[in-house]
């Protein structure tokens, strides 16, 4: 923070008034414009969460359609093509548009608070990440609203294996939307991750050493590195696929010597770290909740952190266990099998440490704790079935069967989703100053928990009984009827549970019980803040003395009070609390990206009718993007200062431009 407050950055301050109207900084604090131009990490986090939950419901609806089709053998609710579209979009939506942005919501909202910062390092880049994510989500889903014969929603699987996704086999533009959509989501994720990395490295409060970082922040850091290192692999793969489809190159074109297996390697070099991108934030959330509700520090903090980082490293060395059936040969198969088993060790260590954390504690079974403990149980089952897959010969039977579906839903729903639902409950009071009713919270937990297990546990048996995945129908003589029927009933129960959960959330947001700060007797810095959290977060940047910083402050109040009043004076002498200006240009840039990407997706390799419109769209999108970037740089990284009185009220207002 000191760096931002240095006078060197604030030399152009007098010129602010003389700027042309186009470059005037938006100042709206309420209303639509305030949201479109926001650079506040908390508002951006909220928007990420909002979009993620909307898409979570969309993905859930797709899942219910899938389960309805499979409820009975030889069913007819969906056609083959509709079904294939559903499972493609269910996977893509849940991974890229629900779980990842939900994690990003917490990264944005919670991480800067946990390290005692006033915002992320690059607030406007943060806004750009958000809007580019929205652009990617729009492109991915645009096919639903276009003619099915020539466009349609993507139906090549979330993994998009070449050569099925080449023009020869799927000539429709559905795949082009999928390619461009993922490409934009990659841009958004990489930009956001760089932002988080710089924030965590540079903007920690004094005394917040790396080994005092809250585990959630540590997992944010590891996840961000995973994103930055793994997304380029899929970016390359998607560029190659786009070149094949749009411009007739031959990366995956078999008749011209292309290698489809290349796609699988590039995809899974991304795809396996992606698995950890989905689960590590969840582990971080759990590592916050368990100590809080056990009233004990995390057991073996250094080992939990180290194992998280270790999972991150090893995650790059196990991608081919998704390809055990591609005929890699004995040595490669053996090597990847052993590496995959090795990754089970740091994962198991985390579970041991979570149990160690609650051991000897005072466990308060509040709703977030229920979801967190549910996570530990479900993740344990998912983790152990993962170990079964690491045995490559066993995997030859399980690969692409329902056994795998059971495994990864235990990890992704029982794991990631349970943790995120726990996190929503946990941080809801901090975000909105209201608390969810314990009765309704626990009811939703039990309905979700039961529904989830009834849905996915029978799938283990289905897989062992030979039912392959991604199949829109099955015959009634295969012995799969009962498990499928039970599973579908479970899915409806799960759907009801999720509905209760969100209905209660909306109700609580509007009319829930109001609570003060630190409602759970928290341990990390974010709980030192009042709610709602002021836009500048910390009136005085805290000084950190221990690992559970807020817990320490609560038990050393005299010392902290004295220290803070000194720091407040020092900060006022620097010119007050420095805040970044709002900006419309990140949104404009993302809009340009969106328009251009739609243009590119619609291009054909042959100049077909409409080529001029498509080219024009692409070029206009590019122009808007450059315009956005141009004005973004022109307006500069300036900000203004807020001055507070003794009681924390703003004294001079926001006109103090710098």
């Amino acid at each position: 923070m000191d760096a931002l407050a240095k006078p060197a950055l604030l030399t152009k301050e007098e010129k602010a008034a003389a700027k042309p109207r186009l470059l005037a900084h938006p100042t709206a604090k309420t209303g639509l414009m305030s949201w479109l131009t926001t650079v506040d990490h908390k508002r951006i986090g909220f928007l990420y969460g909002f979009f993620a939950l909307c898409f979570f419901l969309v993905g859930g609806f797709e899942a219910l359609l899938i389960r309805t089709q499979l409820m009975v053998p030889n069913n007819n609710v969906l056609t083959a093509q509709q079904y294939n579209t559903m499972f493609t979009m269910h996977g893509t939506t849940m991974i890229f548009l629900a779980i990842m942005p939900m994690s990003a919501a917490f990264f944005n909202f919670i991480m800067p608070l946990q390290i005692g910062a006033r915002d992320v390092a690059f607030p406007r880049l943060n806004a750009f990440s958000l809007w580019t994510f929205v652009a990617g989500a729009i492109i991915l889903n645009i096919g639903w609203f276009l003619p099915t014969a020539t466009h349609g929603a993507p139906d090549g699987g979330w993994f998009g294996y070449a050569p099925l996704t080449s023009r020869n086999f799927i000539p429709k533009h559905s795949i082009d939307y999928w390619v461009m959509g993922l490409q934009l989501l990659g841009v958004a994720s990489i930009a956001a991750s760089l932002n988080f990395i710089v924030t965590i490295i540079n903007l920690r409060a004094p005394g917040m050493t790396m080994m005092r970082l809250p585990v959630f922040t540590w997992m944010t850091l590891v996840t961000s590195f995973l994103i930055v290192l793994s997304f380029p692999a899929i970016t390359i793969a998607l560029v190659e696929l786009m070149m094949d489809r749009q411009f007739g190159t031959n990366f995956f074109e078999v008749s011209n010597g292309g290698m489809p297996i290349l796609w699988q390697h590039l995809f899974w070099v991304f795809g396996h770290p992606e698995v950890y991108i989905l689960i590590l934030p969840a582990m971080g959330v759990i590592s916050e909740i368990l100590p809080t509700f056990s009233r004990k520090p995390l057991f073996g903090y250094p080992i939990v952190v180290f194992s998280g980082a270790c999972i991150g490293f090893l995650g790059f060395g196990v991608w081919s266990h998704h390809m055990f059936t591609t005929g890699m040969g004995t040595v490669a198969t053996a090597a990847f099998a052993m590496a995959t088993m090795a990754i089970a060790v740091p994962t198991g260590v985390k579970i041991f440490n979570w149990i160690g954390t609650i051991w000897g504690g005072h466990i308060q079974l509040r709703t977030p704790m229920m979801f967190a403990l549910g996570f530990v149980w479900m993740f344990m089952i998912g983790g152990l079935s993962g170990v079964m897959h690491s045995a490559a010969p066993a995997d030859a039977q399980q690969q692409d069967s329902y056994f795998v579906i059971a495994h990864f839903h235990y990890v992704l729903i029982g794991g990631s989703l349970f943790a995120l639902l726990a996190g929503i409950h946990y941080w809801f009071p901090l975000m909105f100053g209201r608390k969810v009713s314990e009765f309704w919270g626990k009811l939703s937990f039990w309905v979700i928990f039961v529904g989830f297990n009834v849905t996915f546990f029978p799938m283990h048996f289905l897989g062992l009984n030979g039912m392959p995945r991604r199949t829109f129908t099955y015959d009634s003589n295969m012995g799969w009827n009962t498990a499928n029927f039970v599973s579908t009933m479970g899915a409806y129960v799960l759907g009801i549970g999720v509905f209760i959960y969100f209905a209660v959330m909306v109700y609580t947001y509007l009319k829930g019980e109001r609570v003060g700060g630190d409602v759970w007797d928290g341990r990390t810095l974010e709980w030192s803040l009042p709610n709602p959290v002021p836009e500048y977060n910390y009136r005085v940047i805290p000084t950190v003395h221990a690992r559970d910083a807020w817990w320490y402050e609560k038990h050393h109040q005299e010392e902290i009070k004295k220290e803070q009043s000194e720091h407040a004076k020092a900060e006022e002498a620097h010119g007050g609390i420095h805040m970044p200006f709002q900006s419309i240009w990140p949104l404009v840039t993302s809009l340009g990206v969106l328009i251009g990407a739609i243009g590119i997706s619609a291009l054909d390799s042959n100049p077909a009718p409409g080529i001029h419109i498509k080219l024009a769209t692409t070029l206009i999108g590019g122009a808007v993007m450059f315009l956005g970037v141009y004005f973004w740089s022109l307006e500069g990284n300036e900000g203004y200062h807020i001055h507070l009185d003794e009681n924390g009220n703003v004294v001079e207002g926001e006109h103090d431009h710098h």
Binding site: I170, D400, G479
Partner: protein, 408 residues
Amino acid sequence: MISTAFLAGCKLDITELWRMDGHQSTLLTAGPVAAEQKQVFMVTVWVTLVIFILVGSTLAYAMIKFRARTAEEEHAEPPPQGHGNPLVELSLIAASVGALVIIAVPTLRAIWYTYDVPVEQKDNVYEVNATGYQWWFRFEYPTEQATVKGAQKMPLVAANELVVPAGRPVRVNLRTADVIHSFWIPKLAGKVDMIPNRANFLWLKADEPGYYWGQCAEYCGDSHAVMRFRVVALPQKEFYEWLDQQTKPAREVAAQTAANDQPKAQFASWKGKTPDEFRQNEYGFSSEQLNVSPLEAWRGQQFPDKNEDPALVAQGRKLFGAKTCIACHTVRGHEGAGVTGPDLTHVGARTTIAAGLLENNPEQLRRWLHNPAAVKPGNKMAKGFIDNNIKLTAEDEIALVAYLESLK
């Protein structure tokens, strides 16, 4: 839909959940490769089960023992703020590594065993080529020469039913003509993918003669779900008899009566369901025999129907040419020589059609000919009908069915 769900609900057999003895069970193995894979799986099951019981009971104990039950307990002095115990951590890590070694050893052994035919059995191996197409399998027997006409020979080609000798290791070379498919017969061997530009293979052995269900296990487009096949393992002697029959050109049915082009009388006597009576996606098996005693059903399929009508068969053969079936299908010795569709030289002797999806009987065959797209969405035959403006009347369908069923 609700009513069908209700009907199925009445028939639900709850034991089915854990019996896991379906046609594609990975636990009810019938050959050494699948057995080895199952054995490794069972090792992982026992190891992880023990871990789950140990860790789970510790977790459950902690949850019960340390739960604060009253308000006083919740607001009591916080417990000691301990940060962990390195000795506990290290010993747990060591224990985890130990557990993984128990899994790793059989895993490594099985990786090598399941990869290729063991050296001592190499001399005895029987080799076939399997090629995946959207959405069916072509099986080629490179060592068997089949007669086309006179002295003209070509390697024996069949489709969707792979017949192999029981008790002998079989090496299947896996190729694909279009996208990635995966070759999976759960009871005999785990899957291996068919990938363009890659010379993959697997080996399997059926311990006993039998009839095994297989299915494509890699998403390969619209009709991936209905891309199925069968493996029939025969005793050595019967296998060679089958080869003798298969390498012969297609059967000729009393050609002298072929002059009668108008077999109208047969039309009235059509027995069984007409194509329009089938629901979209309806179960394609009319009899239970293929579920109960499939190998016997397969054997029964090898003999010509005693009631076949030579006139109708001749009519169908003519239509097979006139309706351009020959452009895609081969009937060795007859007119067809196309290679984009399955070889139909002895299609009548197979138990299934449309890649294991429908029982090979007149009503199902007619259902397929009537509207291939309804049975297998997106397939090339349906597209061919549209592109070439092929229209089949009910009489055409019945004649074609008679012809194809005569190809034993």
